[in-house]
């Protein structure tokens, strides 16, 4: 009995780099996703992952770093959602729903106008984790360090705002600043994950691990830790699938996340039915 098959994939340099990128992106998105989940911001995360494509396209045309353009568009999205919602006639949900197709459509149109369009578009949509460079890894590590630092410093404040906004405000916290911090961190993570799984599947990493963890944990911080571990684990599992079954890495990682989430939800649903049956049986015949 040998465990060669476990180590085989990592003999190639590009797979080792992909492993680091997948673990960093998965853990980052998993942990941040918990704040996204408890704040009810899933649509916002989905929207940002699409609108930054316009930033990527603009940065490419201007010859600037891609991550800079993506971060700029993430900021534009945050501000525009608040501006549209402030009018009072359109809900935040609608505001996000306006920005997603508008900016994403503009981004796709721009990419379609440039040379080498098809391959570039596919890289943006589904990621290109097997082509990760050392510079990408340095960016991912820096973002991971920044997000970890921010969560260590302001994690409990962010959790407080999620749980009880008005109390947090009454306690003297700047709720708006904390909102911006969270959205900024999500935007940073999105830039990293764009490389790993592409913009189409970013939501899987941002929403999947936290949803799974929420069904298995009762308290918040264990949920964050579990979600980070699940995100990293999905990255590793996805890369194994890529190596052995020759499937796209982005879809494989996203599908690993999805499988775990579906399994956890079935377990949770089963438990609930069990409890209900027990409650009815306990009440006895009337």
């Amino acid at each position: 009995m040998t465990l060669d098959w476990l180590l085989d994939p990592w003999s190639a340099g590009f797979m080792r780099r992909a492993l680091v990128e997948a673990v960093l992106a998965g853990a980052l998105c998993g942990a941040l996703g918990c704040f996204v989940l408890v704040r009810g911001l899933a649509f916002f995360g989905e929207s940002i992952s699409h609108t930054i494509v316009l930033g990527v396209a603009l940065a490419f045309l201007a010859g600037l770093p891609v991550s800079l353009g993506a971060a700029a568009l993430a900021a534009v999205t945050v501000l525009a959602v608040q501006a549209i919602g402030a009018g009072g006639r359109l809900s935040r949900d609608t505001a996000i729903g306006i920005l997603l197709p508008s900016l994403f459509g503009a981004g796709v149109a721009l990419i379609a106008l440039s040379e080498g369009y098809r391959s570039r578009l596919e890289d943006v949509l589904f990621g290109s984790i097997l082509g990760v460079t050392d510079a990408d890894l340095i960016l991912a590590a820096a973002v991971a360090a920044a997000v970890a630092g921010a969560l260590l410093l302001a994690g409990k404040e962010l959790a407080l705002v999620a749980f009880d906004r008005s109390t947090a405000r009454a306690m003297g916290y700047s709720v708006r600043l904390l909102d911006l911090l969270l959205l900024g961190l999500v935007a940073l993570a999105a830039v990293v994950a764009l490389r790993a799984v592409g913009n189409l599947l970013l939501t899987a990493l941002l929403v999947g691990p936290p949803v799974t963890a929420r069904m298995l944990c009762r308290r918040f911080w264990p949920m964050v830790a579990l979600a980070a571990a699940l995100g990293a684990g999905a990255g590793i599992a996805g890369l194994y699938a890529t190596w052995y079954f020759d499937v796209g890495a982005g879809p494989a990682i996203a599908l690993a996340v999805g499988c775990v989430a579906v399994a956890a939800s079935l377990v949770a649903q089963g438990r609930r039915w069990e409890r209900r049956r027990a409650a009815t049986a306990g009440a006895g015949p009337q």
Partner: protein, 253 residues
């Protein structure tokens, strides 16, 4: 029409009514009746089951025991339940009260519009008929919702906290309209927080605390020992103003 004479069948009859949400009892063993043509007030502390009682009378929650409402109902839910940003004007909201009788195929006719306009006039809002619902004050919105229920032309009207959080002028308009509605032979049943107001305007009171504490004509039921039992608090009366003084923490619902 005059108020229904004694001996005519009651508008609402509940026998041993119980409601539970996911195994937790909200209302247990409630038995009462409301004669036709009366204005009945439902009182009780928070979590006493006031809204649950209305929902049982409407038939939208499952219950044990029996509930009988003689005639069709119209309903005024709590003001907070409506979508204030919906693009509709005051007259449009009142007109919605006619929709159930129109069904899918018929459009509102001139008669429906006339009824809606008259009801708005009764509520003192004829000059706001074309104003967006969102632009009205809280009290004006509540008056529009009461007008919508009147447009349903049901025999029994159920209102959930119609007077909470609205200005005094609007409260007076609503109470006057409800009194007139009863005088026409209709039955009105409303939940309220305001003990003094309930004592002043209601013909009958129903006092709840997860179960029925007391029910009957106001002057028989509105007595300090009964109120104290329901609210677990001291009733204070100063120059006709009535106030509650709570002991310790609020009882858990």
């Amino acid at each position: 029409m005059k108020r229904a004479a004694a001996g005519s069948p009651p508008a609402i009859v509940a026998l041993d009514l119980s409601v539970a949400y996911e195994g937790r009892p909200a209302l247990t063993g409630v038995t009462f009746s409301v004669p036709a043509g009366t204005l009945a007030g439902v009182l009780g502390p928070n979590g006493a089951g006031k809204t649950t009682l209305l929902r049982a009378l409407l038939g939208v929650v499952s219950h044990t025991g029996s509930v009988e409402v003689n005639g069709s109902t119209s309903y005024v839910p709590q003001l907070s339940a409506v979508d204030r940003t919906f693009p509709v004007d005051a007259l449009g909201v009142v007109l919605m009260g006619r929709y159930p009788r129109l069904g899918w195929l018929r459009a509102p006719r001139a008669n429906d519009r006339r009824v809606a306009a008259e009801l708005l006039d009764q509520m003192g809002l004829s000059d706001r008929a074309r104003s967006p619902f969102a632009s009205l004050s809280g009290g004006q919105r509540q008056r529009v919702l009461v007008a919508r229920a009147l447009a349903q032309e049901g025999e029994v009207m159920l209102l959930d906290e119609p007077l909470t959080g609205i200005d005094v002028a609007s409260q007076e308009v609503v109470l006057q309209v409800l009194a007139d509605h009863c005088a026409d032979g209709h039955t009105v049943c409303m939940t309220t927080h305001d003990l003094a107001q309930a004592a002043r305007v209601c013909d009958r009171l129903l006092i709840l605390d997860g179960r029925l504490v007391a029910e009957g004509p106001t002057r028989e039921v509105f007595r300090p020992e009964i109120i104290r039992a329901a609210y677990r608090a001291e009733l204070l009366s100063l120059d006709g103003e009535t106030a509650l003084v709570h002991h310790g923490v609020h009882p858990a619902p």
